[in-house]
């Protein structure tokens, strides 16, 4: 939806919008849904904020929770990120997608929270081997149990490895986008993914053998 039509929609429900707004490098390209939300937020639209919140709030919360393992802190991070979006929507320069920008803020905030919290996370090199029950999983454990064991194993990954997995599989981001968000080369992203899987391999093999999705 373009900014003008979005503005018209907002006008229709009584939400004022600054028509003089111009995004820094907007050019003549039409604005996508997320960009239109940001443009409206930059003019002070609470309704656009609500819509963006509905879309991104749960994703930010899930991302933060899976790295922090603390519901309250994950909620704090979520609203810290949403306030940052409110404050800086006007400065969004379209150099990346909106989701990359937002998840970049989320990652930054989450890692700050992780640093301030004692986590039961071991570096990938020092982490215990994935639970021994994985060896017997193929023969004895059902799919749900393996999936639970896999989630437990994921929780033991370092934030650097966990974030690559979360951004890829929960947020459906490409390796380029993950590299942009984590601010590291694409090859580093691929390497982290490779090592993360290595830690999880026995469980993944068991799960794959049982048909993956419960």
């Amino acid at each position: 939806m373009e900014l003008e039509s979005y503005a018209a929609t907002l006008d229709g429900i009584g939400v004022g919008m600054d028509r003089s707004l111009s995004l820094p490098s907007a050019g003549s390209e039409p604005l996508g849904r997320d960009e239109a939300w940001l443009a409206a937020i930059a003019t002070g639209s609470r309704r656009a904020f609500d819509e963006l919140y509905r879309e991104y709030g749960p994703r930010i919360f899930r991302f933060a929770y899976r790295l922090i393992h603390d519901r309250t802190k994950a909620e704090e991070v979520t609203n810290d990120v949403m306030l940052e979006i409110w404050k800086h929507a006007r400065h969004f320069e379209r150099r990346s997608s909106v989701s990359t920008w937002i998840l970049g803020i989320a990652r930054h905030r989450t890692l700050n929270a992780v640093r301030n919290k004692t986590l039961h996370i071991a570096p990938i090199e020092a982490a215990d081997e994935v639970p021994d029950e994985a060896d017997t999983a193929e023969t004895e454990l059902d799919h749900t149990t393996i999936a639970r064991a896999l989630r437990a194993a994921l929780d033991k990954l370092s934030p650097e490895h966990r974030e690559v997995i979360e951004l890829t599989f929960f947020n459906d981001l490409s390796h380029k986008e993950v590299a942009a968000i984590t601010n590291c080369p694409e090859n580093t992203v691929k390497t982290r993914m490779f090592y993360a899987k290595k830690r999880l391999e026995p469980l993944l093999a068991a799960l794959a053998a049982k048909g993956a999705v419960a």
């Binding site: 919360f61 899930r62 929770y65 909620e75 609203n79 896999l150 993956a212």
Partner: protein, 221 residues
């Protein structure tokens, strides 16, 4: 694409996050390699596990948005307060810098004279504040509110020997009041209020005709 490249891209193929050309290249290699296909199954297992919210994970609370709005309210309030404060500050700074600009452009001798005048004014103000009768007010010969509303005006010089009551009677007859004076030449400016040219001329005539009291009268600039 080499098999090793395809292997590196498999997680993003499983997530559906590859560009179409890359996805097609990976698919071509998948058809040729059962081992790669097995790895893909593992990535898909990981993908489906991560994509789902586990039953041991807390649900997202949509009402969190209310807290976000409260924080935005507080932020906006603070922002408005800061903007108002900085607005006042910049006005004061602007006035000060304008004054300093004018001051610096003024010749030294004039600056010295101005400083001396300011000092004299300060001394005078101090004396008035400490010695002046409290509640004293200035009253012109014709009223207590001389500069109330600007109308048509006449500059008048009164005869030196005319009395205050004669002048008051003359001004009352003309419907005028003194709004300025006396000047260095002992002239006064009187205000007639909103009158037209004809009434102004009549009053002038009336004043000039009373030579015992009025020495000179002419429309004020």
């Amino acid at each position: 694409m080499k098999p090793e490249e395809a292997r590196e891209l498999l997680p993003w193929y499983a997530a559906g996050a590859l560009e179409p050309a890359q996805a097609r290249a990976v698919e071509a290699l998948l058809r040729q390699s059962p081992q790669l296909d097995q790895e893909l199954a593992e990535w898909r297992a990981l993908s489906s596990t991560v994509a789902k919210v586990g039953d041991d994970e807390p649900a997202f609370r949509p009402e969190l948005v209310d807290d976000a709005h409260r924080r935005i309210d507080a932020y906006e309030q603070e922002r408005r307060r800061e903007r108002n404060a900085s607005g006042r500050e910049s006005s004061a700074t602007s006035l000060l810098s304008s004054f300093l600009g004018l001051w610096n452009a003024t010749p030294f001798g004039v600056r010295l004279a101005m400083a001396a005048q300011l000092a004299a004014l300060a001394v005078l103000a101090g004396v008035l504040a400490t010695r002046g009768p409290s509640g004293a007010t200035f009253e012109t010969a014709s009223g207590t509110n001389p500069a109330a509303e600007a109308g048509r005006r006449i500059t008048v010089m009164f005869q030196p020997d005319s009395s205050a009551s004669e002048i008051q009677a003359l001004l009352a007859a003309a419907g005028a009041q003194v709004v300025a004076g006396p000047s260095g030449q002992d002239s006064y400016v009187i205000d007639l209020g909103e009158v037209d040219d004809r009434q102004l001329a009549q009053t002038l005539e009336q004043l000039r005709a009373n030579a015992a009291v009025v020495r000179f009268a002419t429309p004020a600039e």
